[in-house]
């Protein structure tokens, strides 16, 4: 159990986890214009901004799935930090990273939540890279399991004999994926 004190704006996290439309609307109305300004004033356009905003919320959602996650700073600072990192990575990919770093808003500082998320983003990128190395059938099967489909349905979709065979096949695929992840030297650094 974490001894960190949850910030009073933790309701934003709960709203995301619960798909609370009222909270999502408020998040959008309050923060999207600011994130859009950050992206569009740093070599991006409106479409880039909406992608970054969505990607950041997905990243936060995934981080908040861990039992040890506690929001310790105002939500906007956390969101801004995640968006900033996502956009910097995208600019790196496009080889258009500005020579000067993004001018941060007043009061913004990286905190432990941001560091955790950056680590998580790196780890998840590694998992995705390794996942892409699996055979097609394995990838299809695992994707259906990740998306919470029932084994019975998956057996039908992928033409396996029964649930048990599907389950055994899934164990094999996941074991292979974990072995690939562990064999990569970057995994030790990212743990």
């Amino acid at each position: 159990m974490s001894d960190k004190v949850p910030h009073e704006e933790s309701f934003y996290i709960k709203g995301l986890l619960d798909d609370d439309r009222f909270v999502v609307k408020r998040l959008y109305d309050e923060f999207y214009p600011k994130i859009k300004r950050m992206v569009t004033s740093n070599s991006g356009n409106a479409d880039d901004a909406s992608d970054v905003f969505q990607e950041a919320l997905v990243t936060i959602y995934k981080r908040a799935q861990s039992a040890d996650f506690v929001l310790t700073s105002p939500f906007y600072y956390f969101l801004y930090g995640v968006c900033r990192n996502i956009w910097m990575r995208e600019l790196d990919k496009r080889k258009r990273r500005p020579k000067v770093t993004i001018q941060d808003e007043d009061g913004y500082t990286d905190d432990t939540n941001i560091e955790d998320v950056i680590h998580q983003m790196d780890r998840h990128a590694l998992y995705k890279e390794k996942f892409a190395q699996l055979g097609e059938k394995c990838r299809q099967l695992m994707q259906l399991v990740f998306n919470k489909k029932k084994m019975r349905e998956i057996a039908k979709i992928l033409n396996y004999n029964n649930e048990q065979t599907t389950k055994q096949q899934h164990y094999k695929c996941k074991k292979k994926l974990i072995a690939l992840v562990r064999a990569d030297i970057r995994f030790t650094e990212l743990k």
Binding site: E8, E9, S10, F11, Y12, G15, L16, D19, R21, F22, V23, V24, K25, R26, Y28, E30, Y32, S50, Q54, L57, V58, Y61, K62, Q65, S66, P74, Q120, R123, H124, Y127, K128, F131, M142, Q143, V145, F146, N147, K148, H170, Y171, K174, K175, L177, I178, V181
Partner: protein
Amino acid sequence: MNETRFEQIEDYLNGELAGTALAKFEAQLNADPALQAEVELHRDIDIALMDKQEIPFVQTLHDIHTQAAVDTHTVEPAPLVEEPTPAPPPFLRRRIVRFAMAAAAAILLAVFALPILFPAQNNTMQLSENTIGDAPTIDVWRSTDGADPMTKRLITAYQKIEQKKYTEAIPELNEIYEVTDKDEAALGLGYCHLQVKNYDNAIGVFEKIQAKNSILNDTASWYLAHSYLRKGDVQSSKNILQKIILSKNVTLKRRGQAENLLNDLEKIN
């Protein structure tokens, strides 16, 4: 790691362990940091590879973004170059002067005579009616097909608020609030009580929302300030407005509204 352990971890994460098997696994998990790390790795991989489109809020965000884009495009765009306004002909200029003088006289009458003609209570009531703004809405839910029955009832109750059928909405919102404990139901209920002059009931409901760490706190506080104002308790209203102004969790718009109302209250009292 042996086969059984691997399968146990997967079954645990997929919610397929039950009874004594689950209890035994959880006891081992609590006592074994290596097992905890292993479970965390399995879970982390599942989360990483979860399809973005399967995350519930993503569709909601997409709908909101699309709606916002539609709204933006339906707003009449401002002309890029402001058209110069032609000067009015001389006879119209004289009319304008006369009209301006009449308007000035009306304003002077309003400023000096109205406070004598009407007592302070009416002033605060009028001030509240002029400044409270729009009724609460849940517009964002209206496009939701397949909403659960309680949400559908909530939408219907909010439609009654929009139609100003407050007395009809009250029992409905009361029941929804009792069953679901949804702050949105409470907010609508408090607003209806406020509109039908059940000020004590309105205050009770808004204070309940305030007591929770709800996203609706700033709206509830705003209506609470108006409830006190309409009840004639100006000091309590001012206190709440002060809190809104000092709170970090309110929108800039709300803070501005609170500041303006507080200034107006200072002027008439």
